[in-house]
């Protein structure tokens, strides 16, 4: 099985650029743009993380089920989406992200 990298990347990059441009042009509010992508991040996390968690538990107990392979497939595909949407999340909260790595002292100096 070869995992598809285009399917979980291109629609989400396009979607983000679309909602970002809509927000910049004042068509939608910033809170709608942020909330929408937070919801997508949550869903990707629930599916990818949930499938990964179930797979780990099944492996720990040595259980082999027919659903293991579909679970693994969707875990991988949504995992790629999760990584991508996390990058969008960091972009959305870039100011907070910067404060995470720069100490308050250094922030005051700049």
């Amino acid at each position: 099985m070869v995992y598809d990298m285009i399917l979980p990347i291109i629609p989400f990059v396009g979607g983000y650029l679309l909602t970002y441009s809509l927000y910049k042009r004042g068509v939608i509010r910033k809170s709608v743009h942020i909330s929408l992508w937070n919801l997508i991040l949550l869903l990707a996390f629930l599916i990818s993380g949930g499938a990964g968690f179930i797979l780990t538990i099944l492996l720990e107990f040595g259980i082999s089920l027919p659903v293991n392979q579909p679970f693994l497939f969707w875990h991988v595909e949504l995992g790629v989406t999760l990584v991508l949407v996390t990058v969008f999340h960091l972009h959305t909260y870039w100011k907070s992200t910067k404060t995470m790595f720069i100490s308050p002292k250094r922030r005051d100096e700049h």
């Binding site: 099985m1 070869v2 937070n38 993380g49 780990t56 693994l72």
Partner: protein, 244 residues
Amino acid sequence: MNINFKEKLVSAVSTIPLIAGVTMSSSCGVSCPYGLSCSYPGECRRYTDAGGDGICDLGQTSSSSTDTASSSTYDDGSSTSSTDSSSYDPASSAQDQADTSTSLVDTGNTNDSNASAVTDPGSGVDSSLGDNPNYFVIPVSMLLIGLYLFTSFLFTRGILDQQKHRRIWNILLTAGMAGSGITGILLIMIINLSIKTALNPSLTFWHVELSILMVLATVIHLHLYRKPFKNMFRVLFGIKNNWH
């Protein structure tokens, strides 16, 4: 009275990381974390060979401890002792392991069986995960939950301010996310391109461990930012926030 109970509860819960650490170190100490039987220098830095047979003792320990339950995987089927485990035929053992891939105690795998299992182009499934997956899900989870309760305790006591508390968990979440994401992408590339490397089991192991960190840190992140989280549903669906 209530405060005393809370203090007792928090101090009891703070011992969780200690318990988890003890559990984990004992688990790590007795067997190879990757379920391998390596020759020198080995796949990790824990190579020890007190017996002087050229095979890592940690791998032999895991093999001998589990082979007592599955002695039928040996050709001769006559011995289950650790001294005899070095003399069995690896090629036939690998074949036996393939035949008994559904066995719960199939841990005496060799490097060859792992490399071929990881890059199985037929299924694309990382079947090395099926070989004694020692992922320490419960100890690592307990360690992180205990750590969160400890930092929450420091926050409620005023030792940590809210910003620092959030910062610690945001950094852990970022580390987990970055580690899990990078190892995951590398695994996808390895599977898609059918690359055989000795690092595949290590990558899978660290992908799982860092994913546990990421999942738990995300749940904690949602708890720390619960107000904006609730606000998200109000903004998108117009659901009024009646949760207190």
